[in-house]
Each structure stands twice: as C-alpha cells, then as structure tokens.
C-alpha cells in the first residue's frame, strides 16, 4: 500500500470513528471507500460491533429510595447552609443591609400601591360614619361626650392605619424570601 493510500485510509477511519462517537451515519464517500478497502471495511465492522456492544452495556436506573433519600439530604444541607449564611450576615458589620432579599423593593411597592389605592374609600367611609353618627346622636348624647367618642373613633382608625402601613415592610420581606417550609414527605 502506498503512503497516499495509507493516509487516505487513516483519514477515512478517523471519520468513521467520529461518526461512531456521534451515533451518526458515516459519509457516503467513506462507506464507498470502506466497501472497496479491506482494512477500512474491517474497521467499519469493528466499530459497528463496538456500537452494538456498548448499547448492550447496561446502566441501572437509580432506585426511588435513593432519589428520595438524596433529595431529603440535599434539602436539609441547603436549609442548614442558608441558615448559616443568614447568621453570618447578621453577625457581620452592616449585616442588616444584607437581610433584604431580592424582590423586597418590588413587594413593598406592590403592597403600598394596593393599600394607598383603597385609602380614599376607607377615609370617605369613615367620614360618612362619623357624620352620620353625629347627626344621629346629636340630640341624644351630650356634645362633649360625642366629641370624645368621635375623637376615640378617629384615634382607633389612625392606629389601625398605622399598624397596617407599618406591617408592609415585614410582609414584603416574607413574600420576597418565599422560602418553602420543610415539609416532611
């Protein structure tokens, strides 16, 4: 066999190997060459036998028990790691700045928008209640007492609104974290 023929066979066999690795059909030219060349034909046959042999090598699927056990351990590891990170963040200087999770500002904005949108309705309603109650009770209850009751009503309303708007950052923080509870299966 001449050097050129050797080189041709080498390159054909290299391409046959590439096709084998890629689970692809060899090029028509290479197939044609292999049909005419004993050495390349043997190489092609060997690769076909290899493919059949490798296909027969079994790889067992993981058992359900293994997968569930792995998921449990990995989840526990993740939870422990997150807790450690948060403790480290708290302990470090400026740690409170690190406590704000991603999405905190978005949740805050969302909650604020929702609560401010209903505020006019709430105020109108309470104003209506106050005016109505004053007209209803004007002749029955002394004016001073009416003023005290009215003032107490307004104070309660203000306290309630303060509590509502004051809880927005905490609710937003919780919603932004969105850490699922560790539910035992």
């Amino acid at each position: 066999m001449t050097t050129e023929a050797h080189a041709l066979c080498d390159s054909v066999q290299e391409r046959l190997a590439e096709a084998f690795l890629a689970h692809a059909t060899p090029a028509a030219d290479d197939v044609a060459h292999a049909a005419a060349c004993a050495q390349c034909s043997a190489a092609r046959a060997e690769l076909a036998a290899l493919a059949a042999g490798l296909a027969a090598t079994s790889a067992p699927a993981p058992s359900e028990l293994l997968v569930q056990r792995t998921q449990r351990r990995a989840r526990a590891e993740l939870a422990a790691l997150i807790e450690r990170e948060q403790e480290e963040a708290l302990a470090s200087p400026g740690g409170s700045a690190l406590l704000l999770p991603e999405g905190f500002a978005r949740e805050c904005g969302r909650l604020l928008l929702g609560s401010v949108a209903v505020l006019p309705v709430v105020l109108l309603w309470n104003g209506f209640v106050l005016v109505f109650a004053q007209r209803l009770l004007a002749g029955v209850v002394p004016e001073a007492l009416l003023a005290v009751v009215g003032g107490a009503y307004v104070a309660c309303g203000a306290a309630w609104l303060t509590f509502l708007y004051g809880s927005i950052p905490f609710v937003a923080h919780r919603r932004a974290r969105r850490v699922p509870s560790e539910v035992k299966r």
Binding site: A43, E46, P60, A61, L66, V67, Q71, L78, V179
Partner: protein, 170 residues
C-alpha cells in the same frame, strides 16, 4: 439553579429529578463499584455546598458532570483495590494476542470489559461523548483539558476499544 442559590428546596428537588437518570448512568459506567449510589448522593451535596460558585454562563449539566467526574477521580485515586484489579485485568488482556482484529461476536462480549480497562483519562471522555452526547468543548470544560486533547483522547479510546494501541500522547 438561581432558585436553589436563594434556598428553594423544591427547585433542588426538581433538579435532582431531572438529572437522576443521566447522572446515575454516568456514575455507573464511570465507576462500576457499589459506591455509585454514595457518589450520586455526594454529587448533589457538593452541588449544594458550592451553589454560589455556579457560573450562570455554564450549562448546569456541564457543571454537574464536572463535580461528578471530579468525585470519581478522587475515588479512583483513593481506591487501591480498584487499581490492583485493573492491573490484574490488564495483565490478562495483555496476554491475549492483539495483532489480529477481534471477530465481531468476541468483540461484543468483550466491550464491557475493555471499557472498564480503559485508562481513566480515556474512559471519562468516551463516556461523556458517547453516552451523554456532550460536545467536545463541554467535555473539555468538565475534565479540564483543551478541546484538542479531548478529541485525541476520544480517538485513542476508540482505538483501545478496538483492541489497538491507544497511542495518545497525553
């Protein structure tokens, strides 16, 4: 993976479920010992422990197999028993004549054994290319060598499986 980095356990469960077959099959072929179940678990624990080192520019599969492959390498280095078995089996293989190409039937029965006898560096690239169908540049990222080296190792592995000298210059 982003959700896992934020501590979402359900996202982690989804990842384990999605990659269970591929990872377990790779470990079973890469390290044919009963330790593969331990390796499967250990791989996911390593994923969790190094969650913040995950590069979003990489495919998750590449990173996962990188971790798994490194664990297998560590196990192979520590496992003196496996090395002795391999040396004994290699001595048996050397005793068989290699000059003639093996007949097709014999090759089929032989393939599993030849695969197990391949040197580590050839077996790992062959498994990733042939069974996991990963492209060469991803394999290069997993095993930590240039893509050209992966290609030459793949051809060497094929030659070794065919019963020829691997002849890779690694």
């Amino acid at each position: 993976m982003r959700r896992v980095q934020q501590g979402d356990g359900r996202a982690l469960d989804e990842l384990v479920e999605r990659h269970r077959r591929g990872l377990h099959a790779f470990l079973a072929r890469r390290t044919p010992t009963p330790r593969r179940d331990d390796l499967f678990q250990e791989t996911w624990l390593r994923v969790v422990r190094s969650k913040d080192r995950f590069d979003p520019g990489l495919r998750f599969t590449t990173w996962l197999f990188q971790i798994a492959n490194n664990l297998c390498r560590d196990l192979a280095r520590r496992s003196a028993v496996e090395s002795r078995e391999r040396a004994r089996a290699a001595a048996d293989a050397d005793a068989a004549p290699r000059s003639d190409p093996a007949p097709r039937v014999e090759l089929r029965l032989d393939v599993g054994r030849r695969l197990a006898l391949l040197p580590e560096r050839l077996r790992e690239v062959l498994l990733l290319r042939y069974f996991e169908d990963l492209p060469e540049r991803e394999i290069a990222a997993i095993v930590g060598v240039p893509a050209g080296t992966v290609k030459s190792r793949l051809h060497a592995a094929v030659r070794a499986l065919r019963g020829q000298e691997p002849d890779d210059d690694d």
